[in-house]
Every structure is written in structure tokens, then in C-alpha cells.
Amino acid sequence: MTFPRPTRILLYVVLILFVFAFVIPFWADITTSLKTNMDVIVTVPVVPPLDGILRIFGLVSPSPTLEPWMIAFQIMGRPLLNSLEFTIFATILSCLIGSINGYVLSKIRFRGSNMIFLFFSIAIFIPYQTVLIPLVLTMSRLGLFNTLAALILAHTTYGIPICTLLFRNFYKDIPESLTMAAKTDGAGTWRIYQSILLPLSALPFVVAGVFQFTSIWNDYLFGLVLAQGIDAQPASVALANLKGTSTASWNVLMAGAIWYALPLVIVYLVLGKYLIKGYMAGAVKG
């Protein structure tokens, strides 16, 4: 719908005001991460540390430093690698399994398939608090406590239901005639999946993949209860611990937040439209 001109200008003003409100925390994060400990305390956070440049305009501002970034990386480096490792493994595994499940539930008719679909659908919505105690107990019985394997297993398992739903909804719209034709040509179940469905699956793999990568990368709760030790500690837990221990050095915390956000922001900017598709389809996951 189009507005008359003066209203349109007002519309943009409002939209840009909202942009400011949304961006201020990020802006203050970046400016703070580039300041020295001293400047963090004595300067206003939103003033950028651009000494040489702002002086031209007669403004006083602190000089920039990269030291907080380096300190933060020393603390966050290992957890970031941990996060990268279990996120990638669990994303790939849950997508592959979801794809096979989606195929079976959409293209093969068998008794109870609706029940199995319901079985996966309800599992999407459960509050994780309800499975926390059994999860911790199982992982320590399996000897997986504080290992990346525990996080891969947990994230894969709890990712299967939503991936199954995503792939099933996509495969449902692939015409029956395609698979039927292959069947009359004598192709087996597995063969149909491999040669017909899988080659058509680039889109759902990207959507489910980006969605899973985002939610596993962002997870805090599982990391907190399963992997506090340094060997498997996720970046989210490391960052939260950083906040808990060093109230004095805000610059390091802000730099740590940037390191942790960086991979995801890149994914978001490059593949954002697929992530949006995932958000729409998997609305209630969390």
C-alpha cells in the first residue's frame, strides 16, 4: 500500500528510529571492545574509539586498541573450536536422518505412519527441562560426560524431529508420479530415495542445515549441563562464564561476544533467506 508523501517521510523516520533502537546494543558492543580498560570506565560506551579521525572535528575520543580482542580469543579460542566441531557434526547428522525420515513418512504408505509423524511432531515442542535429569544421567552412564560426543548425540537427537518435519513437508510436494514411475521401472525404496529425492533436496538441506546450525551454535542449556569442562565446553558457556567472572573488563566480554557471534552473523548475512524459511516452518522449536 502506498502512502502520500509527507506520511512516507514520517514512515521512514519511524523505521530508522527503530533501527537505532535495534542497533544500539551492537554498536556499544563494538565500540567497547576496542577500548582500553581505563577508557571503558571513563568514556561513554557509544562514543567510538577513533582518536585521530574525530580530532579533526575538534572532538575528544579514546584511541582504539585490539588488545581485548586478543585476550578474548585466548579465552574463547578452544571453546569456539569445540562449538564448531559439534555444531557441524550434529547439523549434518540430524539433516541426513531427517531427510530419510521425511522420505519414509511422505512417500511410503504403511500402517502407523501418521502415528509416527505425530510422535515426531510432539517431540518438537517438549520443554528441555523435562528431559534434563535423564539426559545428564544417561550421558554420565555412557561415560560421555564432558565430551563432544555427548553434545553431538544430544543435539542430533533433539534435532531429528524438526528436521523430519521440514523434509517431510518438502517431499510431500514432490509429485507422486515421479516416484511411481521409478517404481514401475523396478527401482527399490532406497534407490528411489538416492536417485530421485536426494538430487532434488538441495533446498531443504540448506534450509534445515542453516536452521540446525543456528540453533545448535546458539545453544546454552545443553552445554551448561553436559560440558562444563574445557575439553568440550561450547563457546556459549565460555562467554557466560566470562561475564560471571570479570565484571571489570567489559571490553574483553564484548570482544568475546563478537568472536562468538561472528560465524553466525556471516551465515545470517549470506544465507538469511533460508534461515527465514526455517523459522517459518519450525516455528515452535526452542
Partner: protein, 279 residues
Amino acid sequence: MLPSIALVGYFVYASIGYNVLVSFTDWNQLRPSYNIVGFTHYAEMARDSVFSVSFLNNLLLILLFVPSSIGLGLILALLLDSKVRGEGVFRTIYLLPFSLSFAITGSLWAWMYDPTSGVINTLLRSAGLGFLATGWVTDSNMALYCVVLALVWQFSGYTMLLFLAGIRSIPESQVMAAEVDGASRFRLYGRIIIPQLKSSTLATFVILMVFALKAFDFIYILTGGGPGYSTFVLPLDMYRETFGMDQYAYGAAIATILFIVVMVIVVPYLYMSSRRREV
């Protein structure tokens, strides 16, 4: 598919069952103990002041957070639907907070709210509004509102997205017809667009409710439930009882209550939306 059914069956369904079982036992130390004590722990909740504070906070969180996020998201969606140039850029910016981990947004807002040198107070002081500077999350009367504000910031981009999809699914012809008939802009929104967003609103409502019920990460990182118990909610209470105080059975009982409440909201919704799809 069978192995995945086994995995989900074990880690979801059997685990829920086991959790319910634990809630009826006397397991109150590190080592598991399975003597059945019936509904003792559920009765305990009625007397436990931390539980009732958490429960009320949780309720208040829902009452404030859900309508605010829906309202702001709807406003953003309606604004962006007015053939805005650079819509994609605005959408990307508004949705960014939702895509980030609570560990990040929790840290960002801790810095925003920091009373001594944090973003909000220093901005207020340099604008000559120093008298408005307060303790924010360190003030037990304000902490929960601060949590709500930050969560609305993080979630309204997402509700915007859901509403935008809802608006876009309204047939163009209806909007055109109304415009030809000379309907004013407000009438158009009030009579044509907003009434057709019922199902988007319901979906958004359910999603936000469920989130607010199990909100843990953000509050745990930003305030840890404090000061005092002013931002304690049920998931935090469950975590503290279980992993902080080894009261496994009591923690399991709180988790069971949470599970029941979430299912009471989700199951009818799932049922309704699956019926709608079949019709």
C-alpha cells in the same frame, strides 16, 4: 528410520516418563534413590515460597512479554508492508537479535544496564537526564521489567516476520477492492488486514507463550534470577533445585509441572492447526 525412532523414543518419551517417575521418589542427593514418596514434592510446592515467587514471575513475564512482542511485531510488519524501499535491509536488521545466542544478547544487555558505566546510564547522564539513571537489573523492583524489555527487543523481529508472512498471504484483490471503494487507511487495516491475521496471531501467541514458560538461558545469564529472587522463573527454580542443591526429585516435579502446562497449550494448538490443514 528405526534407529532415529529409538533415539527420539529414548531421549524424549522414555526420558519424560523417567522424569515423572523421579518426581515421585525421594532422590535428594547426588546418588539416585528410588523410594516412592507419592505426591510429596507436589505438595511441597504449595509451601515453597521460592516456587510461588517463580511462578508469579513467570506469569508476569508472560503477561508483559507476549502482548508487547506481538504489538511491536505487528507494528513493524504493518510499517514494512507499506512498499518500503530497502525493506530487506530493515528486515535483516530487525531480525538480527533473534538469530543470536542468548549468551550474546545476555552479555549485550548486561552492558546496557550496568549501573556505573553501562550504556543506558551514561547516555542519560550525558543527555542531562542523570536523574533517570537507576540500578536497572540490580534494582529488584525493576529487574523483571528490564528482562522483558530486552526479550521484546530480541523477539519482535521474529513476530514481525510471522505477521509479514500473514499479511502477504492476504489476496491483493481484497486490498485493491477496498481501496477502490474509498476505504480509509485505518479502515483498511481495521476491517480487512488485521481480522485476517487471526491465525498468524494465534501461532505467534502460542510460540511466545511456550518460550516464556521455558525461558532459561537469557535470564540465567543476565541476572541469574536476582537480585534476590526478583527474576526467578520456573526453569531457573528447576535448575537450582536440581543441579545447585541436588534436590533431583523436587526439580523433576517442577519440570513435570512445566511439561504439563506447555502441553496444555501446545496440544490443542497442534490439533487445531492439523484439522485446519485437512479441511
